[in-house]
Symmetry: none
DNA sequence: GGACCTCCATCGACCGGACAATGTGTCCGT
DNA sequence: ACGGACACATTGTCCGGTCGATGGAGGTCC
């Protein structure tokens, strides 16, 4: 919170985002801008299809260099939240719903245990989030995914889990990846120790992956 | 700066990448470097765990600025192909393995341990707590235990988990109960059995099941 | 020998520029 | 009215730095 923020006597301008940046804080400037924009998108203050401020405008608004703005926008583009078009500008991606309720899209997957009871893990939320202090201290990072799941046994909700995963370790998480329990594979793929025989990885170039995501 | 400087008796060096970049081509330099490195990783010319050349080395090898190298490496990190570590360098991600169909319902523990890794779940907090609105809506109750855990693989913290459990379902809960095992295992051990209807869990007293589990 | 402490390599963040590529709009000649 | 030439806006690529954070290596001092 600190100070200022209320100056803004410019009026006439809409000035949606609070232009305070914790310059000395441990949070990078690009992350702050990214999260500020993401919040506006999530709250539909910037509705789907709406044009974002140009890089130059953001640069001026926050008083940072273009590299910082570009990294923020690039992250949002990687997340599929915005679409960048050379010569035209950047707009909020259509259908921001799809990541909120992605569990419905892919269908909920039932996992049947050996005992015969039905254990199901339902994903109710996945978003980039600042880890709370406890989690940040444990993980050593604040830039995280926040994953919310409900674990049901015989359809009866048993536990509610909120999980923070370092984004640096899971750069491209999506609800589709997690659906079906492949979070474990994600983690195992990232594994920790070369253990068995070598395996082949077929990776999709970032551009294609992003394009397909849109 | 100078010029290339790649000659001068490198000889015994492998010089993996072709250091000519299609400067005038339509392909960005960072993409060419990224793809060249990816090919080496895919072909195990750079095996899992192997250190990549430093940014400065790549910068010198290809004769580009550091931004270009960083964008290439950043893309690879986003793809999960490499892991970047400040102060140490970048290495090829261990055990690159494309995610596959996984229909085991087991928790992270059994999967990781099956791969020979050491997984530890550390309990950092257990207290009675009001469930947040999202959790309350899912569980139907607000009177819950709040359990905080850290999952480590090879002592490296990977995930921070905050779990809410209805107190009515888990009347007697203590940190010792959960210590050392996965919540999944614990739930199974304490009688998550297919007895037919929902809400069977409460039938088994926690203390007995826990004692048996330990 | 062990706890500290200083140096150094390396990546992370940021700056302020330059030019290219690609859309959009405008203006002009026919 | 139509089409083309041109200016303009905006993002893409690239440059060459600066400073800070982090982790490891090696040396110092007790």
């Amino acid at each position: 919170m600190s100070v200022e923020g209320s100056m803004a006597s410019e009026a006439t301008d809409d000035v949606p985002p609070p232009l305070e940046l914790g310059r000395a804080a441990g949070v990078p400037l690009y992350a702050q801008i990214r999260d500020a924009l993401r919040q506006q998108i999530d709250s539909h203050s910037l509705p789907p299809g709406a044009p974002l401020p140009t890089e130059e405008a953001l640069q001026a608004r926050y008083g940072v260099s273009r590299s910082v703005v570009r990294q923020a926008l690039g992250d949002l583009a990687d997340l599929g939240l915005i679409v960048r078009q050379r010569g035209r500008g950047s707009v909020v991606a259509p259908r921001p719903e799809h990541r909120r309720r992605a569990d419905q899209a892919g269908g909920l997957r039932q996992q049947v245990e050996a005992g015969g009871h039905h254990l199901r893990t339902e994903i109710v939320g996945l978003a980039v989030d600042q880890a709370p202090s406890t989690a940040a201290a444990a993980l050593g990072v604040t830039d995280t995914w926040r994953l919310e799941r409900i674990r049901r046994v015989e359809e009866e909700p048993l536990v509610f889990m909120r999980t923070w995963l370092p984004r640096e370790l899971f750069p491209h998480l999506s609800a589709e990846d997690l659906d079906g329990g492949s979070l474990h594979d994600w983690m195992r793929a990232r594994g920790v120790e070369p253990q068995g025989g070598p395996r082949q990885l077929q990776a999709v170039p970032a551009d294609e992956a992003v394009a397909a995501h849109l």
